[in-house]
C-alpha cells in the first residue's frame, strides 16, 4: 500500500475502533477487533489489520488464579485429545482456561475440540477468544478459517486464511498448505477461500477444473454399525 492510501486507511481504522469501543463491553469490543482483522485481511488492508492487532495487544493479560492447576488440566486435555476422548478433553481445556484465563493454548484447543464435534458457534467463540489473547496466533486463524469454510461463510474464511498466511512463522509452509486446500479440499467454500487467499497475496495458484470428491461419501458406515438386516418378504 502506498503512502497516499495509508493515511486514510489508518483514519478509517481509528474511526472504526473508536465507535464501538465506546458502546460495547470489553469482550464484545475485542471480538469486534477480531472481526475487523478478518474483514481487513480479506481486502489485504495490512495497515488496518496491524491497527486492530495493536488494539488487542494493548489489553492487559488476565491473571491466572491457579497456574499449576491450569497446567495440569491442560496436560490432561492433551492426553484425552490424543485418545480422541473429545468430551473429556473439552472439560479439561475449559478447566485450564478457567484457572488461567490468559492461557491461549487452552482456549485454542477448546475451539479445536468444538470444531471436531461440529459445534461451530462454540468453536468460533473459543477461537476468537484465543485470538483476543494472541492476535498473531496463526494456528487459531487457520482453525477459525476452517470453521467459516465449513459453515459456508466465504468472506470470513478468506479473511481468516489471509491472517493465517500473514502471521505464519514459515510462510512457504503456509503457502503450500493453502495450495493443498485449494486443490484437494472437498468443501467448496473452504477450497475457494484458499484459492482466493493465494491470489490475494499474488502467489501462484491453480484452480481445479473438477473439484475433489469426498473420500468417504455420506452414508458409508462399517458393516457392524448398520441396523439389523430385515428378512425379505
Amino acid at each position: 500500500m502506498n503512502d497516499a492510501c495509508r493515511i486514510p486507511a489508518l483514519l478509517l481504522a481509528t474511526w472504526i475502533v473508536a465507535m464501538p469501543a465506546a458502546l460495547a463491553q470489553d469482550s464484545e469490543r475485542n471480538r469486534y477487533f477480531v472481526q475487523q482483522m478478518i474483514e481487513m485481511a480479506a481486502t489485504n488492508n495490512e495497515q488496518g489489520v496491524t491497527g486492530m492487532q495493536r488494539m488487542l495487544e494493548q489489553n492487559p493479560k488476565p491473571a491466572a488464579s491457579d497456574p499449576a492447576a491450569a497446567r495440569a488440566a491442560f496436560q490432561r486435555g492433551l492426553a484425552f485429545f490424543g485418545q480422541d476422548a473429545l468430551d473429556a478433553a473439552l472439560e479439561a481445556f475449559q478447566q485450564a482456561s478457567r484457572d488461567d484465563p490468559g492461557n491461549a493454548d487452552a482456549v485454542n484447543y477448546a475451539g479445536l475440540v468444538y470444531r471436531k464435534m461440529g459445534r461451530f458457534p462454540e468453536a468460533e467463540a473459543a477461537l476468537q477468544q484465543a485470538l483476543v489473547l494472541e492476535p498473531t496466533r496463526a494456528v487459531a486463524w487457520f482453525q477459525l478459517a476452517q470453521v467459516y469454510g465449513l459453515t459456508n461463510d466465504a468472506d470470513r474464511a478468506l479473511g481468516a486464511l489471509a491472517n493465517t498466511y500473514r502471521f505464519a512463522q514459515n510462510q512457504m509452509r503456509a503457502e503450500e498448505i493453502l495450495r493443498n486446500i485449494a486443490e484437494n479440499e472437498a468443501a467448496d467454500t473452504l477450497r475457494n477461500a484458499a484459492l482466493e487467499t493465494l491470489r490475494l497475496f499474488h502467489l501462484p495458484a491453480e484452480a481445479v477444473i473438477v473439484p475433489p470428491l469426498p473420500a468417504n461419501p455420506d452414508g458409508i458406515v462399517p458393516m457392524n454399525s448398520m441396523p439389523n438386516p430385515t428378512r425379505a418378504p
Partner: protein, 492 residues
Amino acid sequence: MNVPLFAFRGVELTLALALALALASALPASAGQYETIDYYVQQMIALASANEEAGVLIFREQMENLPRPEPGDARQASPFIQHGQERLASGQPKEALAAFRQAFIADPADPEIAGALGLTYLRSRRFKEAERLLVYALSLAPTRSASWLVLGQVYGQQGDAHRATGAFVNALRFAQDQPRVTEQLRQLATADPADAVRIGALQALQLARPAPAAKPVLPASPPPPQSTAPVRSKDGSSRAPEQTALPATTAGGLLGSLKQGGDLLGSLKQGLALLAKPADSATAEPVASPAADNGNPGQRIYRRGMPLTCLIVTFQNGKTANLGSGLLVSKDGLVITNNHVIDRAENLAVRCGDRESVARIRKRSKEPDLALLATTLKSKESFILNQTYSQDLIGLDVFVIGNPYGLESTFSTGVISGLREIDGVRYIQISAPISPGNSGGPVILRDGTVIGVATMGLKVGQNLNFAIAAADVIASPIFAPKQMQVRSMSTP
C-alpha cells in the same frame, strides 16, 4: 562486468564484486520472507553467470546467516518422501506432488524435501511454484547442487537462458561429484527439448570448461613454460584466458559456443536429432495399458473403458451441485450423459480417466433423458455405440463403470435381464448394481461396445436397473453421426 576496478595485494576487485559487496546489505527493509531469500538467490545467479565467484560466496554467506525455520517432524515426513519418490519414478507427478507436499508440510526445514517438491512442480510444468520451492530449498542449503540444477531447468523451461546459466554454474560450483553434474549438464545441453535449457547448460559448461593444462599431456612433451600456464583467476580456479567472456544468451551464442566446444559438438548434434516435446499430461491421449488384454474380460473392459468413462460435476453459484457419469463417444471430445445429471447446471466440469476439461451443453433432450457435452478432451479412442435392440441381448454379460455417490470409476457386472419400453423410450434392464452417480455412465458388452446409458433403477426390489438403449441414443436428437461410431452386435 568483469573489468578490474582496482587491484591491491594481488587481488583484483572487479566492478561486479564491488557491487556485490554493496548490494549484500541493500535488501529493502520491508521485504517479506520469500522476497529476502529470492533476492540473495538472484544475486548468486547473476554473479555466477558473470563468473564472479567471490560475489557468489558473499551472498552464500548472507544466506547461511539467515534465521533457519524451526525443524519439522522428520519421522512423519519419511513415508511421504518414499511414496513421492516411487510415484515420481513411475511417472505419476500428480501423486508425487501430493506426497511431497505432505512431506513438506510435515518437515519444512528439510532442503531435500523442499527440493523434491520443487522438482515435482517442474515435472508438472508448474514453473512458478517450482521456482519458489527451489529458491526456498536454497535458503535452507545454499550449496545444494541438485537444487541449483533443477532451478536452472525451471528458468530454462520459461525461456530465461541467462538465469538458467547462472543456476547451472552454481550447480557445478557446489557439486560434490563434479563429473556427475558435468554429465547431467551435458545431457541437458544436448537432449533437453527447451532451447533455453540447452543454451544455459552449454554456457555453464563453457564457463566451467577445464583449462588446457588439465588435458592429458603426451609423455614425450616437455613441461609447458610458466608463461603459457593457465592463469589463476581470483577465485582460485584454473581458466583459459579466452574463456572469460560470457557467451551471449541467444541462438547465436549457442552457435558460437558450438564452434568452440569441439567435444560437445557431436553430442549436441546427436541430441538435437533426438529432440522431442515432452508429453503434456493435459493433452495426452488415453492409451490402453499393456496389461489390458490378459484374458479376463472384466479387467480388459475396465482398463479400456475407464479412461473413456467420465465424472461429470455440475456447479451452481460457484459450488458443486451434482455428480454423475458420462461416456466419451468421439475423438473430438463429445461426452454423452443423462439430462437429469446436468439439469440446472450453471457450469460443468468433466474428468475422463485422468484428464479434465470444462464442458458445455451442446444438445439435450428430456425424452429420452440424454445430453451431449462438448469438451476439449481429444482422444484416439472413444466408445462405440451398439445399435442392437433385440431379445438376443437377454442373458448377455454387461459391465458398468461409473461414479456412484462420487466413488470414482466403480466397476460392476451383471447381465441383461430384459428389454422394456417406458413412455416411448426403449430401455435395457440390467442386474448390474447402479446407484445415484452412475447416471449417464456406460453399460458395456463383452466386445467393448456400449449397449446402454445407465439412467435409473427401481427403489424396491433388488438389482432392477435400467439403461437407455444405445439404439435410442442413436435415434435421439443428441446423436452426431459424423463424429460417433456405431456397430451391431458381434456374431457369437
